[in-house]
Structure formats: structure tokens, C-alpha cells
Amino acid sequence: MEDAAIINLYWQRDEQAIAETDGKYGPFCHRIAMNILRSFPDSEECVSDTYGRAWDTMPPQRPDSLRAYLGRIVRNLSISRYRSIHAQKRGEGAEVLLSELGDCVPSGDATARTVEVRELGELISRYLDGLAADDRTLFIRRYWNGDAVSELAGEIGVRPNSLTKRLLRLREGLRRYLEGEGVRV
């Protein structure tokens, strides 16, 4: 079923919308949640909550990309869940991603301005606009989807070590870009 038709089901308050969403984007949402939480029960719960959040927000929302919309919800929920359990259970997924993204934190000087998360997201989007499609996709698949380096390397056909270096260059590029924008995180 097309995304527009699924969104119409939400607007018509037809519960078939949930089934259609699960059928089309269930594995996608599960994957993002698992990449962050590395726990099946926690991921299941986040995905379930995602459907609930989608039901609550459509209407009035009518997203252009249902996939990105759902992915964003499940990602936020997974990150929140990760933070709430972080003290007890050290998950591998989000920790590794956080550790890598630490490379992107600009060394802001006194003149740098502090930005909020929303503006930071827009700056990251602008940085990605300037990259080649390969690099842009790599960055998003690694840090938005949370896909493993080994998996991405297999998809591209390169060694994981080689891809790790490439991702490091992308992160350093983001850091330089943010520093160039005069941003402090």
C-alpha cells in the first residue's frame, strides 16, 4: 500500500493503518531500535510505542515521507529508552555510536554560539548536502539507522577497516563544518 493511502487510514481513524504500517515498515523500525538498544524486548516495546505515537499524531500530521517520520519516532523512543536503562545495562549499540559522534563535537571557542538540537540537525543536513551520495548515505545509515560497520562494508564491497577510516573522515568533516559555522555544542 502506498504511503499516502496508509496516512489516509490514520486520518480516517481506521485501525487497519497500524497493520499496514507494521507490514510495510515494521522490520525497518525494529532494525533501528535494535541497532540502538541491542535488546529484543526493549526494541519490541519501542516499535509498539512508535505505532501508538503515529496514531496520536496523524492527524494533524501528514508527513511527506512516512518512513522517515516513523524512523524518527522510533529513533527518539529508542534513545530515550537507552538513556533510561543506561545505568543498569550498558548496551553496545548506542554507546559505540555516541563514542564515534564524539569526534564531531567542535572545539568551540569563546565566540562560538551554542545551538539547540533542532538547529544542529539542520546544520548536519546542510553538511550532508555537500557530500557525495555515497558518503551521505554512509553517514545516515551509520548514525541515523545505526547499521553496523561490518554490514555496510559488505554492502559496499570494502574491508571494514577501510570503511572505519572513511567514516572517521566524514565525522572530522562534520566537526570542521560546525567549527566553520561558529557553533558550540
Binding site: 511527506d64 534513545i79 564524539g102 563535537v105 539542520e122 548536502d129 541515523w144
Partner: protein
């Protein structure tokens, strides 16, 4: 909230069109360059293995290459040249032209067979009913008798026990190199 965590949250806000593009993007597959050195090493190993296998099958390791005058590099003679026979067995240290001699440390082998043919200087034997000759894959073996000091009277159908050095020439029929003794176990019915 640390800088990394803030960035992690901010990544969530990447534009929809970029997210959508990334989900359906197909990476052009990089052709991995073949490590030619490794390939060459593997080819060399394969060549060595194949060469060794061929050498073992042709019996090179047992006797070496026969020379044109019928004497091999170890001084041992061999018969059955027209049939392209090959030795099987160990090296002959005490060989002289036209004759073979068993290695000093060759073990004697005893086997049972049934006499199929009786000739002046040799017998032809076959495995007993329902059995195979343990000595050779051949179904018939020539047993030279000319050098035996004691040879019992033999007839076709006798079951005999033959003691030999175990070396078998891969002719057809196969031929024993040296027979040490022949004993009748059961006369022909």
C-alpha cells in the same frame, strides 16, 4: 547532556528527503582487487600437490625413472617393458642388470590364492571364491617359480599360500617380483 549526546539527538532531525534517499540508495559495488601474490602462491602450492600426486601414482618415488637400456637409476632391471609396466615397491639397493633384488628390510607377505594356470617357470593365481587378492587390485597374478628351491607339485584348482616380498609389477596380469615360498593349503577338488 554531552556534546556527543546532543549530536546523537540532532542526527534524528536530519531532513526527510536525505533519510529517504539513504534508505533506497544502492552503493556501487567496489571490485576488490585480486591479491596477485596470494594467487600466485596458491597456484604454486596447487602445482606442487598435483606434481606430487602424479609422481606417487606413477611410482617415481619407488624406483625413479627407468633409463632407456632397461636399467633404472638405482641399477635395478625391470621386465614387461612392452606393456609399459611400472614397479611398485621399495628401492632396490642390491640391484644388478636384468635382475631385481628385494630391499634388505622388505617385509615378507603371505596371501592365499587359487592356481588358475601352471607353466614351467611361473603360475597364474586368482583370489579365492568371493574374495579379493589383498596384495593387488588385479584379479590375476603371475607368480614366478623358477627361483624357488622347493616347489610342490601344483595343479589347477589348488588353493595355495604364497609368501613373497610384496612387490608387484603393475602389468596384466600383475607379476610378483620375488616369491619366497609356495605351500599347498588345499588340493583341487
Amino acid at each position: 547532556m554531552s556534546g556527543a549526546e546532543k549530536l546523537f539527538d540532532a542526527v534524528t532531525g536530519i531532513r526527510d528527503d536525505l533519510i529517504e534517499e539513504a534508505q533506497s540508495y544502492v552503493f556501487p559495488r567496489h571490485k576488490r582487487t585480486i591479491p596477485y601474490r596470494r594467487l600466485a602462491a596458491m597456484a604454486a602450492c596447487l602445482a606442487v600437490v598435483l606434481g606430487l600426486t602424479a609422481a606417487i601414482r606413477s611410482g617415481v618415488f619407488y624406483m625413479g625413472s627407468p633409463s632407456s637400456d632397461g636399467v633404472d637409476s638405482n641399477g635395478a632391471g625391470w621386465t614387461g617393458g612392452d606393456s609399459g609396466s611400472n614397479w611398485t615397491g621399495g628401492d632396490n639397493e642390491n640391484a644388478s642388470t636384468g635382475e631385481s633384488s628385494p630391499p634388505e628390510d622388505a617385509e615378507a607377505i603371505t596371501f592365499t590364492a587359487v592356481v588358475a594356470e601352471v607353466h614351467d617357470a611361473y603360475l597364474v593365481v586368482e583370489p579365492p571364491e568371493g574374495e579379493k587378492l589383498l596384495l593387488s587390485t588385479a584379479d590375476r597374478i603371475e607368480v614366478p617359480t623358477g627361483d624357488l628351491e622347493e616347489l610342490p607339485a601344483l595343479q589347477v584348482g589348488d588353493t595355495v599360500e604364497i609368501t613373497c616380498t610384496g612387490e608387484v609389477m603393475e602389468t596384466y596380469p600383475a607379476r610378483l617380483t620375488e616369491v619366497l615360498s609356495i605351500e599347498v593349503l588345499e588340493p583341487a577338488p
